[in-house]
């Protein structure tokens, strides 16, 4: 009797907590609740464009989130996703600008590859430091993020700056460097579809291949894996490379699919959000997809709530912060419950 009640409470209280705080904040600022929620839902489902926006927003979260989840499976917290995203975007942009004459069938895959490799390289140093020397990847990854952001800022003001405009941004990509749209009259590009394919590939990789299994084993018990002959270092490095590579692809889709050029502020904390996406999605591709879409929806709905009811968009950031805190506390209490 007691246990099923406990389980119910265990699932329900986080949702209630988040909802309660949201409503509280809305009431606090004197907003008409009905209008706010109506605005939110209209923002999500109102028209095709809006629906498309959800998936546009979700795509980089999904890709970087997949990357972070691979890292997590090997015990590697990829805090550097933000920087890897930017570096991937830079590499893709460079290819787009300097090789813009190539046909799209060659150019786009090249840009993709550039983004993947660049992102992977950016993750390599923290990764190898952790594997070989046991150096904490936390501080180093954050430093690399800021270095990357400054490199991009420097680049778009100097060597890849658009010569036609005084603003700091790269040249506009040629048509054949842009990802085609999935649905006309929206901004939804094939990047989202690509991300779904990748989610499936990540699932196959982690759960169906030997190498993927090794990665998960190393995250589960590195000592036992070592004693059985698994090369733990190699797996940590590989997971960091893949993690960075996926964040790099996220950068690629943002420049090739959405912005069509490299700019400051390309990412609004997508890299850090991706960590949360991976965590909340339980590090499983299906969970990551769902969480990324939900987060994208939260974002777009929040924008609409602002237009309709004057609710600041920062509400969504608050909600996200609370979700994570609740998630962390729930982890603790569920462990306590298991031990009881």
């Amino acid at each position: 009797m007691k246990t099923w009640m406990h389980k119910l409470v265990h699932f329900v209280w986080p949702v209630v907590a988040v909802f309660a705080v949201t409503v509280l904040l809305l009431l606090l600022i004197g907003v008409d609740l009905a209008q706010a929620f109506r605005g939110f839902f209209y923002g999500l489902f109102g028209n095709t464009f809006q629906i498309g926006e959800i998936f546009v927003k979700s795509t980089p979260l999904l890709l970087a989130g997949l990357g972070c989840s691979i890292g997590f499976h090997c015990g590697f917290i990829n805090l550097g996703a933000e920087g890897q995203l930017y570096i991937g975007a830079l590499a893709s942009s460079v290819v787009a600008i300097f090789l813009g004459d190539l046909p799209p069938a060659i150019l786009i895959p090249l840009m993709f590859a550039a983004g993947f490799i660049a992102g992977g390289i950016w993750a390599f140093i923290p990764g190898i430091m952790k594997a070989k020397y046991g150096l904490s990847e936390v501080i180093m990854s954050i430093m690399f993020n800021y270095i990357a952001i400054q490199l991009i800022a420097l680049s778009i003001r100097t060597w890849i700056k658009d010569p036609d405009y005084p603003f700091p941004m790269s040249s506009l990509f040629a048509e054949n460097a842009c990802l085609p749209l999935l649905i006309p009259h929206t901004r939804l590009h094939i990047g989202f579809f690509m991300a779904l394919v990748f989610a499936a590939l990540v699932y196959l990789f982690l759960w169906k291949t030997a190498r993927g299994f090794q990665i998960r084993a190393c995250g589960c018990n590195p000592r036992a894996s070592f004693c059985v002959g698994v090369n733990v270092n190699r797996n940590i490095i590989l997971s960091s490379l893949l993690s960075g590579g996926f964040a790099g692809i996220a950068g690629f889709v943002e420049v090739a699919g959405v912005q069509h050029r490299l700019i400051d502020g390309l990412s609004s904390n997508y890299g850090y959000l991706a960590i949360m996406v991976a965590l909340l999605g339980n590090n499983h591709p299906a969970g990551v997809v769902v969480t990324a879409v939900l987060l994208g929806a939260l974002d777009i709905g929040g924008l609409a709530m602002q237009r309709q009811a004057g609710v600041p968009t920062s509400l969504t950031t608050v909600i996200l912060g609370i979700i994570i805190v609740v998630f962390l506390l729930r982890n603790h209490y569920s462990t306590r419950m298991k031990e009881a």
């Binding site: 150096l135 270095i147 949360m276 600041p312 920062s314 994570i324 805190v325 603790h332």
Partner: protein, 312 residues
Amino acid sequence: MSETILLIADFLFASVRMAAPLTFAGIGESVSETSGILNIGVEGMMLAGAFSCFLVSSLTSSLLLGILAGMLAGLLFGLLHAFITITARQNQTISGLAINFLVLGLTSFFFLVLYGQAATLPHVRTLAAIPIPLLSRIPVIGTAFFSHDILTYMLYIAVIVSTVFLRKTEYGVRLTAIGENPRAADTTGINVVRSRYIASMFNGLMCGLAGTYMMVVLFGFYIENITAGRGYIALAAVTLGRRNPAAIFFVSLLIGLTEGLQFTLQSLGVPVPSQVFSMMPYVVAVLVLLFSIGRSYDPSALGIPYDRNERH
């Protein structure tokens, strides 16, 4: 000639002010890390302090209340971080990130709600400069270090007190033991949990103070995300300064100097891009980390939740 000297003096003066928030936060973080708790949420706690200070002082017109409010806000988030990492034993990095998001959201939210419609941004009175008699007369050094406001003088005191605290008192010894080998500390009767909570709350308080400083000394007004990554630079400074408050102050000064150097060079027409300067602290931090391979300077228990009953 005297013009250059004046320039240098102003230069140093600005550097001290730039260094102050980094140092306040850095002192708090070094205490926390010494006890074994890593706090990525420094950025969030600074922002919370800045906003609370701004809010309270513009509502009450009292700078003192504003400063206290800022410190309190930081302390509360420090308490939250402590609860998540010590009692709930969750991952310290994730907790810090969550706090950053939460604070960013809350401050932006309330700022927009309260002042979004305002025609002009309310200003906060900034602290007056109080030149120290005699010392402020010393050429260059006097202008640079002894012609500041009271909060900056508090900075000097904080650096000295915290260095003494960590290096010379029994409290510092105990804190070091807790961060290095909590089990050993526990067996001698030291209350590991309580000490870590206090360290974390102190960290929050100092970060809040850093944010407050930005309000009442540096800017005098508030905009969204005013801290703009200074919290992360503070983390770099703590790494570079190896958790020694005096070294952190020195490093922060250097960082402040490079910012000032950047402005000066630009005004002189030297075409070094500002991003190079912005990158500097981070690049140097990475190099320092790379050089510390093999000789770990981190407290052995940093980042690891302490469980008294765990089989060892």
